[in-house]
């Protein structure tokens, strides 16, 4: 029971990572496709402005999920990381390249450096969710057996379900980012970019839908256990996800960006939870269950306590972070910061 609670907490963390971290990855995707010249530069500024203060905090959800997995389901952590070590090493390198390059780009002043670091940031923003999706596909299709490095180190992540997972992850991130950026562009008073990101959001939303539909056939063939779960126990969630996805595109077309944000987030969350519910109670498909792999009760309780205390500190802090950068008036929008705005702390010489 308490293991199930812990699993749910972890899944909430994973959802947060998908929604917040995913949007940051997606922003990198659009950075890659932002185009050349002044137009591309302006678009990149909007992207940078939008994720700059928050990406580091958004990234921590991944660490949260990893640590909770190893503390509360150690054998699953060991099995997944040892079997899937190739895509996970590549994911880790993607995370390094992305975070470092983003910070380097911010700190560099010359065009060629910004191009180099920007390209690195954008490329790794696409590669990282691709591999993470492949890892999810490997686990969901039952290619990771219990034990250490018991699975095939290659076919566990190069297979139809992993391919599906990777593509869906990239498209979902791109879609989330585009939807978020619509509203950010409007708030920055940039209607041209808003319209542009709306087109991109609709296109990526439709692409998600098409891939998901095609994915049904793939899962039927390649991941029967997951498929059965999705079409039975998790059906309601799948329907919620589909409806929210359709509503999201409809809202985008009508220009209701803030509502579209909610719908897009709901769609992604519903699909993620559908996966969880479809697979439950298996941690590793087909037969390694939650109760097989859960840590001792003392550990689960300690972890829940730490989560409780952590949330008490985190919630107001996160609120402060998002409130500071989402609600206060923008400093003249991207690219046009008011020079020396309120420069009380630094009126040097």
């Amino acid at each position: 029971m308490i293991a199930d609670v812990m699993l749910a907490v972890m899944w909430v963390g994973l959802t947060c990572y998908a929604l917040f971290g995913g949007a940051d990855f997606g922003a990198g995707f659009w950075d890659l496709l932002a185009g050349r010249g002044r137009r591309g530069g302006r678009r990149r500024k909007l992207i940078e402005h939008s994720i700059g203060p928050v990406w580091e905090a958004n990234h921590v959800w991944l660490i949260f999920v990893l640590v909770m997995l190893w503390a509360c389901f150690s054998p699953v952590f060991a099995a997944v990381l040892s079997t899937l070590y190739i895509p996970l090493t590549l994911t880790a390198l993607g995370i390094i390249a992305r975070g470092a390059a983003f910070a380097f780009r911010k700190a560099s002043t010359e065009m060629w450096q910004q191009r180099l670091f920007g390209g690195c940031f954008a490329l790794s923003s696409v590669i990282t969710p691709l591999f993470l999706g492949a890892v999810a596909g490997g686990v969901a299709s039952g290619r990771v057996p219990p034990g250490i490095a018991e699975g095939d180190t290659v076919t566990s992540w190069i297979n139809p379900t992993s391919a599906l997972g990777g593509v869906i992850a990239v498209l979902t991130c791109a879609h989330l980012a585009a939807v978020y950026l619509c509203a950010d562009a409007v708030r920055a008073g940039d209607d041209v970019e808003a319209a542009d990101f709306r087109r991109r959001a609709v296109a990526s939303g439709l692409a998600c839908g098409i891939v998901a539909l095609a994915g049904i056939a793939v899962l039927d063939q390649d991941a029967p256990v997951l498929f059965h779960g999705l079409t039975h126990r998790a059906l309601a969630l799948v329907v919620v996800g589909a409806v929210a996805g359709l509503a999201d595109v409809a809202l985008l077309v009508r220009g209701r960006y803030v509502l579209a944000r909610g719908a897009a987030a709901l769609a992604v969350a519903a699909i993620l939870w559908a996966w969880g519910v479809a697979q439950y109670p298996n941690m590793l498909v087909p037969s390694t269950t939650v109760s097989d792999t859960a840590s001792h009760t003392s550990v689960l309780i300690a972890s829940l306590i730490s989560v409780g205390v952590g949330l008490l500190v985190l919630t107001p802090s996160l609120w402060l972070l998002y409130a500071t950068f989402q609600r206060t008036p923008e400093r003249g929008g991207p690219g046009g910061g008011r020079p020396g705005a309120g420069g009380e702390p630094g009126r040097a010489v």
Binding site: L81, T89, A107, N159, L314, S317, G346
Partner: protein
């Protein structure tokens, strides 16, 4: 088809190595840890220094301190990002390289990592606010948003060292025929090694940051830039490092005496003590040869005196345990001596600074303006890299001294490693990526010290009219 290609590629690289390559796994973990530990230290120390100069800048209204705060904050943003990602890699690597450890004991040491995760979360959140809201908040309020970064930085250092301390002093579990039957994560976290190790580490973090920052300005002063800005940039961190140094020597002594009680074989490895006995000398340098530490400078009764304040104190020797449980004596001993030597050098530099201050007060001249201070500045410039050397050596002593155990007395490193093939290929990829990242980090930081306009918000490059001292 891609399946077959990938399989070919992987098997080609994997065939060169035996499955479960222990050496490759060790090298990769050691390398990425050694890299991260410097960044982690800067993550603990730099916010404190930055807040210090920002506070003084606000209080005194002196522009050079305000400018320093902005510059350091900017470097902090870059270093924190690189430190965060290189730290994330470590949590992946724990599973990728050491699934044997994590599968079995992951739950025992999960708690400090979970707490560290939350502390790190707080750090990331407030760093975002601190860096980006610089000009959106009134100065004092802005200063306050930096306080959680410092507190959380120290806390996360404490938690993560608790986990390492557990590897040295495993507690909080019962093994019955190799199966965990009882786990107490709180007892595992608060183990006897945690207090000395974490205090030593946190002080090391402060020293590394202080001396490394000061050395940047020492170099600038050697090049003739002795204006108020550079002098402040040198004196604040160097003075801070000089204050911390004596505490660090005391903490190191505590840590060493802890070893004599709890991990005598590690101490025996560090000091090259082969045979148990009293009146054990303290050997400085030397080389382990034919079961003895030769060619070193021996201080009679030194170790016995240090450990128990009495020459008759018995120190246990390596021969008390089987040969295959010895740590690598040569490496650990050398690392220890270099750490202690460098620490003493840093302490001496602090004393020298005090003397200079006394002299300048007496003669009524400004400090470090005359030409005669060149030797001091040269050595001060070396103090930064020196502190890093001491840090890496100290860390090597802890980790190499624990060999061959990954969990002291419970699990060997060789039983924890991932048996999958191809780890060597992973090591090469990681080395290449880290080399590129090192190059880029150093390059960007060097640029940061030179770029003349310092933008208003430390990480926003779109404002270019900031005046410069």
């Amino acid at each position: 088809m891609p399946d077959a290609v990938a399989r070919c590629l992987v098997s080609a690289t994997a065939s060169a190595v035996s499955p479960g390559d222990l050496a490759a796994a060790r090298a990769q973990m050691g390398f990425s840890l050694a890299w991260h530990i410097v960044l982690a230290c800067l993550g603990v120390g730099l916010p404190l220094l930055t807040l210090g100069v920002e506070w003084y800048g606000i209080r005194s209204g002196r522009p050079e301190y305000q400018l320093l705060a902005r510059r350091w904050a900017r470097a902090m943003g870059v270093l924190f990002a690189v430190g965060a990602v290189s730290g994330t890699i470590l949590s992946f690597e724990l599973g990728i390289l050491w699934p044997g450890l994590m599968g079995k004991f992951g739950q025992v040491i999960g708690l400090p990592f979970a707490l560290e995760g939350f502390a790190f979360f707080i750090e990331a959140i407030f760093l975002g606010i601190y860096l980006y809201a610089w000009d959106r908040l009134p100065p004092r309020k802005h200063l306050l948003t930096g306080v959680p970064i410092v507190v959380a930085g120290v806390a996360s250092a404490f938690f993560v060292v608790c986990a390492n301390a557990w590897m040295n002093q495993p507690r909080g579990f019962t093994l019955d025929h190799g199966k965990l039957t009882h786990v107490d994560p709180w007892a595992a976290m608060i183990n006897p090694a945690a207090p000395p190790e974490s205090v030593h580490m946190i002080l090391a973090a402060l020293m590394v940051t202080a001396f490394l920052t000061a050395s940047v300005y020492a170099v600038a002063m050697l090049r003739g830039r002795r204006d108020a800005y550079h002098r402040a940039g040198f004196f604040v961190p160097f003075g801070f490092g000089a204050v911390v140094a004596p505490f660090q020597i005391a903490a190191g002594d505590w840590a060493a005496r802890f070893l004599s009680h709890y991990q005598p074989m590690k101490l025996a490895g560090i000091e090259g003590v082969y045979h148990t006995g009293s009146h054990v000398p303290l050997t400085i340098l030397g080389y382990p040869d034919r079961g003895e530490l030769r060619y070193g400078l021996k201080i009679p009764d030194g170790l016995s005196l240090l450990v128990g304040y009495h020459p008759g104190t018995v120190v246990r020797g390596l021969h008390d345990v089987p040969r295959d449980q010895w740590p690598p004596v040569g490496g650990v001993h050398l690392a220890f001596d270099v750490m202690v030597g460098t620490g003493t050098f840093l302490l001496a530099m602090g004393v020298w600074l005090l003397l200079l201050r006394w002299w300048s007060r007496r003669t009524g001249t400004a400090m470090l303006t005359p030409r005669g201070t060149r030797p001091f500045l040269l050595l001060a410039a070396l103090a930064g890299p020196g502190a890093v050397v001491a840090l890496e050596c100290g860390w090597s002593v802890t980790e190499l001294g624990r060999q061959p155990w990954i969990v002291w007395g419970v699990m060997r490193v060789s039983d924890a490693v991932n048996p999958a093939p191809g780890l060597m290929a992973g090591l090469w990829v990681v080395l290449v990526v880290y080399a590129a990242m090192t190059f880029a980090t150093v390059y960007v930081l060097r640029r940061l010290t030179r770029v003349t306009p310092v933008p208003v918000a430390p990480q926003e490059s779109d404002v270019l009219d900031y005046p410069v001292v």
